[in-house]
Symmetry: C2
């Protein structure tokens, strides 16, 4: 087994500073006037980041020239407590030179089925679907 | 259903900036020289933050005077891809004046079974266990 650790310390109100084993930290907050993402937003970001790091790594190995990459996540949660996610859609937006749609589809498939630890943790409780869009380069790129 | 959205943009290497719907953002990174927590660390922090916000909110309503609160998480992941979490232990460390252990136990139980959306999302795929420790106040408190 691989052991992963993390630690949080309450700062003020509902704001916590959370850090990994190397002390790299982020803020979490919720409620009125929150200054940082909430835990449920963080869960989506963990999933999107996990998938995104896999996908860009695979595409670089395949010599795909990605010039811009954004990931949007839309999650559906229960109305009643506990309001856990039931479904999450991940939409990958890529720009680049001569991108091969099949290479992108394969990279996403590999992440979703083999590499993404966060994805594997969420399934089977959550239905996760993925798709991608190749966007034209932004003006100036 | 409640809809929750998030978005990430690749900055450099494997570093992404992730933001919630209000634009509150964090960094995610992985690999050599990472400057921010990885997605799997973020998943632990989302769980710990979710539970911590519930617990401190409940304890304040119960007039418990908490002067320090830290949460440690230890997750076990599979050795083989996909290396999802199989078990996570949450340890709540609290300091305060005249803290009632039963009030703390009840608050954690309420979070784990009723309120914590991240906990509810992870179960049934992950075995999550919780316990707490009442620490003496640190010197100078």
């Amino acid at each position: 087994m691989v052991t992963t650790r993390a630690r949080l310390v309450l700062e003020d109100g509902l704001r916590f500073r959370g850090a990994d084993e190397q002390g790299r930290s982020i803020l979490l907050d919720s409620g009125e006037g929150a200054v940082a993402p909430s835990p449920v937003a963080l869960l989506l970001l963990a999933l999107g980041g996990c998938s995104g790091m896999d996908v860009i790594g695979i595409l670089r190995k395949k010599r795909q020239r990605v010039t811009a990459y954004a990931i949007e996540l839309v999650g559906q949660r229960r109305d009643e407590h506990p309001r856990g996610f039931t479904a999450i859609e991940i939409v990958h937006h890529l720009s680049g030179e001569g991108l091969d749609p099949q290479a992108i589809a394969d990279a996403i498939e590999l992440s979703d089925t083999k590499y993404c630890s966060v994805h594997a943790t969420l399934v089977p409780g959550v239905t996760v679907t993925s798709r991608f869009v190749i966007d034209p380069p932004a003006a100036g790129e």
